[in-house]
């Protein structure tokens, strides 16, 4: 019974990881851009939820406002810094985004202090769902449901709509798309902002689960990179499958070999890199 519940818990955990990794996957998959500031955008959003609640605002307000606010910040960064690195080496991209990450992290520490802070889940989702002898938090169930909805909507837009086709085409052959009359720079800018908004969305959803502290961004970036690497760089469905595998593996390991529950994430990544260097669903670049 415990293994069955660990699988249920793991699928939920995997869905959380999926939300976290989606934004990174969008930015890397479409732009071939390595965003080391992804985790700190996540952390910034989580702190903004804390600020909204501190001033008496509701979680629901934060859920709408914070991803938009972080998206605006992403757009400003893209216009002022990031766009100049699209055609540069990955080293340059890493250095620029790592610098942004450091500025955000140190600013958060400076403003809010190194201590963790609590973020409360909405009152309406503070109960539990009972499954035989186990209980599962309603808020986690809500996050999983919203994660599935977001993932499905995203997949539909990218794979089944005209705008999705243009975005995918721009990522494959930007010159051709420009010759057809579309502004590839605007498409890239839009894709970057959507990726950042997804990081913001993940930050809002995670805040009541973990609280906020200055190190949550680094942890989030690590998990997102593992999911994207295992799933295959640029593979949208790969990220979903990889995240679910990671969640279930970590949860099951909590019972089988608890000390290795976190380690399994890195072992899985190392194994995939060795056996399938392009990831489970990745294409040869």
């Amino acid at each position: 019974m415990i293994y069955a519940f660990q699988i249920v818990n793991g699928l939920g955990l995997g869905m959380l990881y999926c939300i976290l990794a989606l934004g990174l996957s969008v930015i890397f998959g479409l732009l071939r851009f390595i965003n080391f500031a992804h985790g700190e955008m996540f952390a910034l959003s989580a702190y903004l939820v804390f600020v909204v609640q501190y001033f008496g605002g509701s979680f629901w307000l934060a859920l709408i406002v914070v991803p938009l606010a972080v998206m605006v910040l992403g757009w400003l960064l893209e216009r002022s810094l990031i766009q100049f690195t699209y055609n540069r080496s990955h080293t340059v991209q890493i250095l620029v985004t790592f610098g942004i990450a450091l500025v955000i992290r140190e600013s958060l520490t400076w403003i809010f202090g190194p201590q963790p802070h609590n973020v409360t889940a909405p009152e309406s989702l503070s109960g539990f769902i009972s499954i035989v002898n186990f209980t599962f938090p309603e808020y986690r169930a809500f996050v999983i449901g919203l994660g599935i909805l977001t993932t499905a909507c995203f997949w539909y837009v990218l794979e089944r709509t005209r705008i999705g086709a243009i975005i995918r085409a721009a990522s494959e052959r930007s010159e051709m798309v420009m010759l057809l009359g579309y502004d590839a720079r605007k498409i890239f800018s839009g894709a970057f902002c959507v990726g950042i908004a997804l990081a913001g969305f993940a930050g809002v959803m995670f805040a009541p689960l973990r609280g906020v502290d200055p190190n949550i961004g680094a942890e989030a970036l690590g998990i997102a990179f593992i999911a994207v690497t295992i799933g295959g760089l640029g593979s949208y469905s790969g990220v979903v499958v990889a995240s679910l595998i990671l969640g279930v593996a970590q949860s099951l390991m909590s019972t089988i070999w608890p000390e290795g529950a976190s380690l399994i994430l890195y072992i899985a990544m190392a194994a995939v890199i060795l056996i399938r260097p392009n990831g489970l669903f990745g294409k040869t670049v």
Binding site: R210, S251, A261
Partner: protein
């Protein structure tokens, strides 16, 4: 030469001659190093501990004319970095007096390095080895060790909850967690209860849902959290969100004190039992004076780290009779000294260099019972449990 020019020249020459004396007078300040994590996994320890050090230094300057030159060193929550930085501080400033609220692994490494440097190091880390088998003559400790913390929380809780026979633990896998776990297991066995299971986790873990599922499956009467600081807070938050507080009692054996409880809030904490090295409402004159002295430095009441910074600094000062730093003499003077500490009477033991103090078992209150935002818990039990000399594994080499 004009008379005026001669006088100017003479005054200048006198200043030059006197200069080394002035420099020497300034150099008489005693380099005093506070080496604690200000970054890394336990970055929250540094700033609060620093307040305690500064309160003590100010008091010592006024009342005992001891003039410390405070130097802050970030140990980065990393033992090898901490040792390197201790060496650098010793060679660059000649510092021989060190205090730090460190990770146990950092403290053990720093204790050995302090001995090599001929320095004194006072820590508030928790592992039993610090004043046990890995003790050094250079190292002192202001904190009830893991054994005392477990006996100060689990034992009274067993009396309060006589029907609680099944206990489950969640433990970080490193020297501190292992020490808490082995003591918990021993105390439960002695009291006729059973540790029905334990989930180890890594020191970087933030996702505890899998371990909480293990705990729920074991169906214990009490869930014992051995994790510390941000991990302890994350684990407790998730335990409450998974509904475990409604099914079992929860005890956090070694909390980080007020700041940690504030970060969790009364909704999560209500009914949770918490062990603490310090609690700001302790009703003794030394603590009241300390709380008042901290007020200019912080809007919040002092927490465990602030108290540790203060107590560690005062312990070193207890061995000093002047601004001269003769570490062998200071160590000799410190041994056997009795102090009026912020948790109650303190004694610096000569055979293991424990600075004995009190440990508190708190019970967190519901929000409705709080009289102010910091009134989060009541003290249920105060204890001071240390190994006896016969039990001590400390053998100074």
């Amino acid at each position: 030469m004009e008379r005026r020019d001669f006088l100017k020249g003479a005054a200048g020459a006198a200043l030059v001659v006197a200069m080394p004396e002035l420099v020497r007078a300034q150099a008489k300040k005693i380099p005093f190093v506070h080496i604690t994590p200000f970054s890394g996994a336990l970055a929250d320890l540094g700033p609060d501990t620093e307040i305690g050090c500064k309160v003590a230094i100010e008091l010592l300057r006024k009342e005992r004319k001891l003039d410390f030159d405070y130097l802050r060193v970030d140990s980065e929550s990393n033992p090898s970095t901490a040792v390197r930085k201790m060496q650098e501080a010793a060679s660059s400033s000649g510092a021989r007096l060190f205090v730090g609220a460190n990770l146990s692994s950092e403290a053990l490494a720093l204790g050995k390095e302090a001995r090599n440097l001929g320095a004194i190091y006072v820590t508030s880390a928790g592992a039993d080895e610090i004043t046990g088998k890995d003790c050094t003559r250079a190292m002192f400790r202001w904190a009830v060790p893991t054994r005392g913390a477990v006996e100060g929380t689990i034992k009274p809780l067993m009396s309060l909850l006589p029907n609680a026979k099944r206990w489950y633990a969640i433990t970080p896998k490193y020297v501190f967690g292992d020490a808490l776990l082995s003591n918990t297991e021993r105390v439960l066995k002695q009291g006729g209860a059973e540790l029905v299971g334990n989930s180890y986790h890594s020191l970087t873990e933030k996702e505890f849902s899998g371990y909480l599922v293990n705990a729920a499956a074991a169906n214990p009467d009490v869930l014992v959290l051995h994790n510390f600081a941000a991990q302890g807070a994350a684990c407790l938050r998730q335990a409450v969100s998974f509904g475990l507080k409604t099914k079992m009692k929860i005890v956090m054996v070694w909390s980080a004190g007020l700041d940690q409880l504030l970060s969790l809030g009364p909704d999560i904490l209500d009914g949770v039992y918490v062990g603490a090295q310090y609690w700001h409402t302790t009703d003794i004159p030394a603590n009241k004076a300390f709380v008042a002295a901290c007020a200019p430095f912080s809007k919040l009441p002092p927490n465990n780290n602030t108290a540790a910074g203060y107590a560690m600094t005062m312990a070193i000062a207890a061995g000093m009779t002047s601004n001269e730093v003769d570490t062998a003499k200071i160590i000799e003077n410190m041994q056997g000294k009795s102090l009026e500490g912020v948790t109650g009477p303190e004694t610096i033991r000569d055979f293991d260099h424990e600075i004995t103090k009190s440990y508190f078992l708190l019970k967190c209150k519901p929000k409705a019972s709080m009289t102010n935002p910091y009134d989060l818990a009541d003290i249920l039990k105060t204890s001071s449990i240390y190994p006896t000399q016969a039990e001590s594994l400390c053998k100074f080499s």
